[in-house]
Symmetry: C2
Subunit: 210 residues, 2 copies
């Protein structure tokens, strides 16, 4: 096995450290966040930190660095609290990844890629056409993570749109049926295949050590 | 597409809502957290909320509900600040999932499963033998998420152990080479296959809309 301690990690080149630490916590979700400013400018940006926070009430969280990456996303969310979460499917990888390019502010990634915005119900923020799962979310709160200056955004999931073939009889969403991808590090895109669903675990229902 | 709004979600049965909301944010990392109390009792529990927070300094975060699930994990971490993160590989799925069973406090999942603890360097907390990636982490801080009572734990990554064949020349860790799995919802385990790594995205390097 390879081993890196704190000093080793500190001594790595910036790019090596970025690659190592971004991939070392495991697979991450691949989502595009859609927003719209109060003056009508749309924005879409890829995120890999969106995570389930709770089911009742339905909440998610994600992190961002206000001083570096997707500033438009943060600005728009703070203006009106609306955003959308749109899963990246296999055919969208290249276009979704390109939303991480640093365009000038007020330039919409919907104009710079083949991704298309789509409006549903009366939701202020744009969804991404063709995503197999789309969520309508509302900003609730933020926590400044003082350890590195990141901001953790907490949001309510107010609308769930999911393609018919993904939704199973017990509410479980089979991501594989939408060719939903996962992110490995900063730039690796992987397509998961379901191996098994397991029963709710109860004490003593498994073979212990001999 | 199927659609659920806030009222629909609220009206679902508890299990249906758990399945739906736990799977609707996308794939999650599959990790086992290893801890040891000051009096020497080991514990290991599966988590799906561990996420990269930053690379310099190397940080991760995860959430837990102190009043419900893995209390031993939280108690041990608060006692001495040491824990380990161990990735679940294909052959470990059943054993890792079983660590979510609600055993009485002070019962070690290392005794109730075929998982084996392993000590490295002088790290207080046990690693899980056979995991292709293991991290030695130290608790730094916690934030109470008042929206649902969860606690967000922030930790420093102080040791990285990664099997040789996963580590690429630029520091990127190819999770596929360790048969690292991802979690879909509460109980689905998927094996991702790498589709592509993409270049750092720069403005105007992609085909726009016609």
């Amino acid at each position: 096995m390879q081993h890196f301690n704190t000093d080793d990690i500190q001594g790595l080149s910036k790019l090596y450290r970025l690659n190592l630490i971004n991939s070392i916590t495991g697979y991450k979700s691949a989502n595009m966040i859609g927003t719209k400013s109060n003056s009508g400018e749309e924005n879409v940006a890829i995120f890999s930190s969106i995570t389930h926070l709770g089911s009742n009430p339905p909440l998610l969280h994600f992190t961002l660095r206000p001083n570096t990456v997707p500033r438009d996303t943060y600005k728009n969310i703070k203006e009106n609290y609306f955003f959308t979460v749109n899963h990246v499917s296999l055919g969208q990888i290249d276009q979704a990844h390109h939303t991480s390019a640093k365009y000038d502010e007020n330039i919409s990634e919907f104009d710079q890629t083949q991704l298309e915005s789509e409006y549903r119900l009366d939701w202020h923020a744009p969804f991404v056409k063709g995503s197999p799962i789309c969520l309508g979310c509302r900003y609730l709160n933020e926590y400044e993570i003082k350890e590195n200056g990141c901001v953790l955004i907490i949001a309510a999931i107010e609308h769930v749109f999911v393609e018919d073939q993904l939704l199973q009889a017990d509410g479980w969403v089979k991501l594989e049926s939408g060719e939903v991808v996962a992110i490995n590090g900063l730039d690796g895109y992987a397509l998961p295949q379901l191996q098994k669903r397991l029963e709710y675990a109860r004490p003593n229902d498994i073979i212990k050590k001999p």
